[in-house]
Symmetry: C2
Subunit: 432 residues, 2 copies
């Protein structure tokens, strides 16, 4: 989940306003439905199992955190997680082509029907070699990735074990997933496999990602993003001797200037950023190559597409302009436009059953759900029109995406979150 | 000397046209004057000494090349060179505050009068740790820095020894110098010391830099340069959450676009280059800092100053424009303008006695002098109105500023160049 990371980068910008939504209105019937589920003896047994398993949950966080899972290198952690799924009693445990770990809790309905997917991601943002030993101080655990999303993985496992210990089967199957590629350049490839090519792809009725570092977050908006790395190339030459030749720096700069003149709507919120730049080798040489990384985002897939088109026209115009403005006798300016990120936009309406019932589940534990937009695994199903949300990990934390990352594993609060997550999942799976 | 470096960087741009000047017209009286000097028995003895010393000259090139002299770290080579000056018989040998090695050949005039400076630079462009062992293949020596300007240092030493062996004293004192800081960010600091603060600064009537890799180059034009590193800073923020805040990338880009719209004259040739850029930390963050390196050059000091003023206005305007265009609630864009290079422009007119007589000296050895513009140690005296030129090192070479650098130390050609250099210096020092 990206929100914590954003905060770490931000330091003092006003993001809260744009990310937080209104408190959702769940209806009295949603409240009654959740209350009825909560009152069932089997659910009470499941809650007791969660409580009894608290220390093991903490141990699992430590165990999993200490298996490094850098982007594109989630295999070791995935294998360990698959073993945990098997030991917990899930069926059909496998690791798919992308590296996602899948495990099934069969429902009471007939095989092959609609199912609910619950997921937490295996990957962290931290590169290979980052020390990942967990340090404990009171109720806090410190380690890179300990919260995002390793605590989500452990919480998912606790929910699985509680369901099985209390012998709960919902009408629908529940597919539990430890997925790959949620972070950065992973570009949601685990979800793209699951929803685009996986064997369950046509059966998914609802999706939960356990990946919110707060207690009350309910992410029902997926900010889409498209990221480009532009490589502007030209002939280069000596700054004095070759003066007058085309310069890729100028084409890059004109692109930035023009990008910042593209109008975008305030709502649905649509943004761009010329973020990272580099190029040139020596102050006394016209550069041969200059590159620029640009990020574009929108709450609306259509607005994102409109912005992207305008941006790409801007790039071509800037290159053509430079080739017209200066000499191309030793070569022209060319540009390579490489997509380095493509996260679909989407949202799950606040009045869908999934959002309303989940908000009621939070309410049953005394938590007022806070709707938000973010970029999570849920973006992929949202973009496909499948109801999807992101819910808390059960361990409040801060400093995600930094090596100072920490979480608080205090029992009362973490148990509260696990209970509300379980209620929401059961409701979505048709358990009554 | 920068010319070889340019070629190494260039690969296929047309610099030759801009660097080469017309063949100078030396008068018949210049020719006669040089012929008269050349006919003197003492000068013939000096030529014989040069010939006898050829192998030692090659050995000195090897010895000096193998003492690394990276930018700002010329001390070890300087110390060795000072010892060579003493051993050769120069008086008043010292190392000045900047690290220049100075040694005097007293003239026949009264002490404290005008003098001629001859110089070669100690520093190379190569960083510490670059292997500098010289490899010999036939008449070629291969090593980083072997030509630029180590062969110039060795040639200067041969000229000193030839003068002393033949007991020549010109009317004027001749101050021989092994100077520091010629290359890159060294920024001519050796020359700035010599002409700005040194104890001989008010006595210098003419200046020779022995630093041309060709046989026929006679650099009488000093291309001036001013180099800036601009650091644009802003508050930064998340690309989505903080959208709307000022971005240093935009201010940098507007600077480049506007710079490339500043008109500059073709003659005196005046140029600019937005050469190196960097900044930003992550594609999903508005950068906190973006930097840009810009090079400006001119054959005319006045035109360089005009360009610099326009450029600095452009920078300020771009920053102000960005602060006006977007929100500054979390901070404004600021810019730090750091001068990272300042080489004064200047020239020595083709009809001055120094240029005419030197061209006649080349002619006496059958070489047609080729006037050129470049950036060398001679820039500093040129900018002060002191007649100054750069003359050949006596070892033709290529690939300067690359680790493939090589020179040819064949005796006939190198001796020809040493003879013409010596004739030119003697003429400038009033020897008749």
């Amino acid at each position: 989940m990206k929100r914590v990371a954003l905060c770490a980068i931000l330091v003092g910008t006003a993001m809260a306003a744009s990310m937080a939504g209104a408190v959702p209105v769940h209806t009295p019937s949603d409240t009654r439905l959740i209350a009825a589920i909560k009152a069932k003896p089997a659910v009470k047994a499941a809650f007791a199992a969660l409580e009894a398993e608290h220390d093991q949950w903490v141990e699992n966080i430590v165990t999993l955190t200490e298996i490094p899972a850098p982007p594109f290198k989630e295999a070791a952690r995935g294998k360990a997680y698959a073993d945990m799924f098997r030991a917990a009693g899930l069926t059909d445990v496998e690791i798919d082509e992308a590296g996602n770990v899948l495990g099934m809790r069969r429902g009471t309905g007939k095989p092959g029907g609609k199912l609910v997917v619950v997921s937490a991601h295996l990957d962290t943002v931290f590169p290979e070699g980052t020390p990942v030993t967990v340090r404990r101080e009171g109720s806090r655990l410190y380690a890179p990735g300990v919260g995002d999303d390793t605590s989500g993985l452990a919480t998912q496992l606790s929910l699985v074990k509680a369901l099985i210990a209390s012998n709960i089967s919902a009408p629908m199957d529940i597919l539990f997933v430890g997925d790959v590629g949620e972070e950065g350049l992973g570009d949601l490839r685990g979800m793209k496999q699951l929803f685009g090519k996986g064997k369950y792809k046509d059966r998914i009725a609802a999706f939960f990602s356990i990946d919110d570092s707060s207690i009350d977050g309910l992410t029902n908006g997926g900010v889409g993003s498209k990221r480009y790395r532009l490589n502007f190339k030209g002939p280069g030459g000596h700054s004095f001797g070759a003066f007058g030749l085309v310069n890729p720096m100028t084409a890059m700069s004109q692109t930035v200037v023009d990008l910042y003149n593209i109008p975008v709507p305030k709502s649905p919120k649509t943004t761009f950023s010329a973020s990272v730049v580099g190029g040139g080798s020596s102050v006394n040489a016209i550069p041969r190559e200059v590159w620029l990384e640009v990020d574009m985002r929108s709450e609306s897939a259509a607005e994102l597409a409109t912005l992207e088109r305008a941006f790409l026209q801007t790039v071509d115009k800037a290159v053509a302009g430079e080739n017209a403005a200066r000499s191309t006798k030793d070569g022209v300016i060319s540009v390579e436009k490489k997509i380095v990120g493509d996260r679909p936009a989407g949202s799950t309406a606040a009045d869908t059953a999934l959002v309303r019932q989940t908000a009621a589940a939070y309410g049953a534990e005394g938590v007022a759900a806070r709707l938000s937009f973010s970029s999570t695994d849920a973006n992929v199903p949202m973009s496909l029109g499948i109801p999807a949300i992101t819910i808390p990990r059960a361990a409040k934390g801060e400093r995600g995406h930094s090596t100072d990352e920490w979480i608080d594993v205090s029992a009362p609060e973490s148990l509260k979150v696990k209970r509300m997550d379980l209620l929401a999942i059961l409701a979505a799976a048709g358990y009554r």
